[in-house]
Symmetry: C2
Subunit: 475 residues, 2 copies
């Protein structure tokens, strides 16, 4: 039996400010999907959501309607089949509609995995370590290792020096990278800019690490001066730094070389820092951009993570995290039951994802991906110019296909085009599936939406004047 | 900018015993898959794996061969297509073969999601909280909520009192449950039996929690007396207890009611403990077993997790975690970028998984699942009896379909049937896809394998005698 480790434990986290819970949502079933089961299935009321946020504005809208599990025990087989088919067919229509109008999130929705369709018959699970086969035979590790080797070449690390795996999403990559950093430097402080993806500060909280949130420049890059002074002030403790290779909202790329210079200036030797590069979207694109700073393991970085469902495109969220093999010793242990090793965050791992990535890389090659990147950057510049011409305030970082502009004020427009918004800005992430034709429609609808808002506001002034002074036609 | 929290940080974890690294693996390409690309693609050498374990035996075998990404830039289009198709077709054959011979892991490989096939065209992502729609429109939250409501009914919690989500696997459910427990009781000690799934102790390490590993009874259940004395000895601090609803290896069910009694006896009031029920496999089965103790939110438990790819069956690993809505306040925060809330471990979440579960539950109904459970328990008893008759030592817990027996000594047999082994035992987890016909083949081959081993050992005695004394025929 293990004894209790003699360590001091952090006290309770700050408690959330208590507000009264939002009212329970009404059961506003989604129109397309619900039509298939209308008036027939046991209709559960939609789930209430009464949790309170720890901080920030309380999101009280967007309650999800439920599509209850139908009651198989009460329907005859034929009726049940018909119901199910209707639900699925209606849902497919909705998916197609929404896929056609998506602009906001960095997901490449243009993929065709037709030849892989039959694989859905199998429960493919790469449980445990990618490099050591488990006793469970229905896996796709050979594809996974192939994909990892492809990334190793991209990020310039020798085959016998890296370790990595295919994750469920960008968050898992960040959770893994930062965990490796913490195990290497248990007393380290985590530094990341305030425009960093929320998963990084979530990791700090999960792992009970001290974290410093550094300010940002107008571009969205980390404020280098502030980083320097923070590092200097905390020089007694090691540094774990999250470097953004494309921030979530503005697509800003933190300058890795400058961060390395700052570490040197402030006296951090290589054994006293660990850099995790969060390249969720742009980590896949930057190697193909000529004038971009290189993200490579030839520099003293600890880990890189990217998403697979973003620039690459995939039906399921996925990603890759890569680190140096020598670091992984600190976080892994053998699991006899798996006949493999446990060095990943998750246990069972989606075995379909590596095949999607293998298939895309094999099909497109480095050259095909380079062309995709070019197309995205070109269309992002086009969108920027179109918006400028139309009188919309707009920003585009040099190394990015994320076009940032004034947040549209019609909520229906934001929902239709599925725009991600923060404060008074919105963005369009130009992915390979965003064609010039789509940009045309989008800009036209945006301008129309803005015109509607402008007219309605102008008329509201007239209405107010009429209320104050009476209708002057009646005079 | 955030300041550094004034908290003491745990020192470095115990260092692993350093051993010399295993030799680099040879590139033993898998025979079926590699035949498609033989002698043609740029063959990378298989990745070396040189990580060292933290503890336990060093796993130095089973290195995964790589299937490198083909070089699209160097092949003409037609040739490339032909190569890809060959790889995929060969791989499908291998998957089918391995699926047919799988006995060891608790995965129900008998599923048919035919009508859902077209969904692979869409990037379905339930990013953020299930109950609050994100701006990203291509999601399946309505199915997810439907499935959660189905589980809420199963585990007896009111629709407005639960919170939960569909996870990537059992590990994510355990990581979430234990994190909620830690946030509720920041100074709590984690208690779990030594036959608990490895993800539970991984969580303790990730979260920097003190953990007590409690011994087990012969059956695999937690040693209740030892739990009592540990709880009594640490009564000054709250308790976070992992209760196994079916252990990984022996399928043992910790007695929840007895654990609750022990907590009462040792003076823990309900505000000073948090119970997470790890029901990876059996959490889905136990509600359908008449004489089993009820796992329900009517008892003072904090969370339950189950896997979806185990008893239910699914092409991708998935699971469900459920907790009380009031607990989730402590671990969630609103994320404006998502227009949703961040209360899950992962950020992007597989939107196909909820549809698989919805489809199965709708199709089978509670009644269909009850029949599946009956079949599994019946066939597990049959396998136990067959093995006994054949002279194999065997154990089967009353509430389990996990048949534990002497570890077969032929490695090839273990690999063929993909048996999970630990120490000198192996197990077969009888799932709905394990038919009587399959049991017949398995038992027959097991007996033949044992006979081969027995004959070879007997003959080795003769061989040794011959070496010592010479061949007596020559005398």
């Amino acid at each position: 039996m293990d004894s209790i480790l003699p360590l001091s434990v952090r006290g309770p986290l700050p408690k959330p400010v208590t507000k009264s819970p939002p009212p329970r949502a009404d059961s506003a079933e989604d129109e397309l999907v619900s039509s298939g089961v209308d008036g027939a299935s046991p209709r559960a009321t939609s789930a209430a959501y009464q949790a309170l946020p720890v901080s920030g504005a309380l999101i009280t809208h967007n309650y999800t309607p439920a599509l209850p599990v139908l009651d198989a025990d009460e329907l005859d087989k034929e009726e049940l089949e018909a119901r199910i088919n209707k639900v699925i067919e209606d849902y497919k229509e909705k998916l197609q509609l929404r896929t056609d109008h998506h602009m906001g999130y960095p997901y490449n929705l243009d993929f065709d995995y037709g030849p892989l369709e039959g694989l859905q018959k199998y429960c493919i699970n790469n449980l445990g370590d990618p490099f050591i086969e488990s006793n469970y035979g229905v896996h796709s590790r050979e594809f996974e290792i192939g994909v990892l080797q492809w990334f190793a070449r991209l990020w310039e690390i020798e085959p016998h020096e890296f370790w990595g795996y295919i994750t469920n999403c960008g968050t898992e990559g960040n959770l893994h990278g930062i965990l490796v950093g913490r195990e290497m430097l248990p007393d380290g402080i985590l530094y990341a800019s305030r425009e960093t993806h929320y998963s990084v500060f979530k990791a700090a909280r999960m792992y009970r690490m001290d974290a410093v949130k550094v300010g940002t420049l107008e571009s969205g890059e980390i404020d280098y001066d502030e980083l320097r002074s923070q590092l200097a002030a905390n020089a007694a403790r090691p540094a774990i730094i999250n470097v953004n290779i494309g921030t979530t909202v503005k697509g800003a790329v933190d300058d890795l070389d400058r961060v390395l210079d700052i570490l040197k200036e402030t006296g951090y030797t290589e054994d006293r820092f660990f850099i995790h590069c969060d390249g969720a979207l742009f980590g896949m694109m930057i190697p193909f951009v000529k004038r971009a700073p290189m993200v490579t393991f030839k520099k003293p970085i600890g880990s890189i993570s990217v998403s697979g469902h973003k620039f690459v495109g995939s039906p399921v969220p996925c990603g890759v995290v890569m680190t140096r093999l020598r670091y992984i010793k600190g976080v892994s242990s053998d699991v006899e039951y798996l006949n493999s090793r446990d060095a990943t965050i998750m246990g069972s791992r989606n075995g379909h994802a590596p095949i999607y990535m293998w298939y895309t890389f094999t099909r497109k090659g480095y050259e095909g991906l380079r062309k995709d990147v070019e197309k995205c950057l070109r269309n992002a510049h086009l969108l920027k110019s179109m918006l400028e011409k139309a009188g919309v305030k707009v920003m585009l970082n040099e190394l990015s296909s994320t076009v940032v502009f004034e947040r549209p004020r019609e909520e229906a427009f934001v929902r239709k085009w599925q725009l991600a918004c923060e404060g008074d800005i919105a963005h369009v992430v130009v992915m390979p599936n965003i064609t010039i034709r789509k940009l045309e429609t989008f800009v036209q609808e945006l301008v129309e939406s803005r015109a509607r808002v402008a007219v309605s506001e102008a008329l509201r002034l007239a209405e107010a004047a009429r209320e104050r002074h009476g209708d002057d036609e009646e005079e």
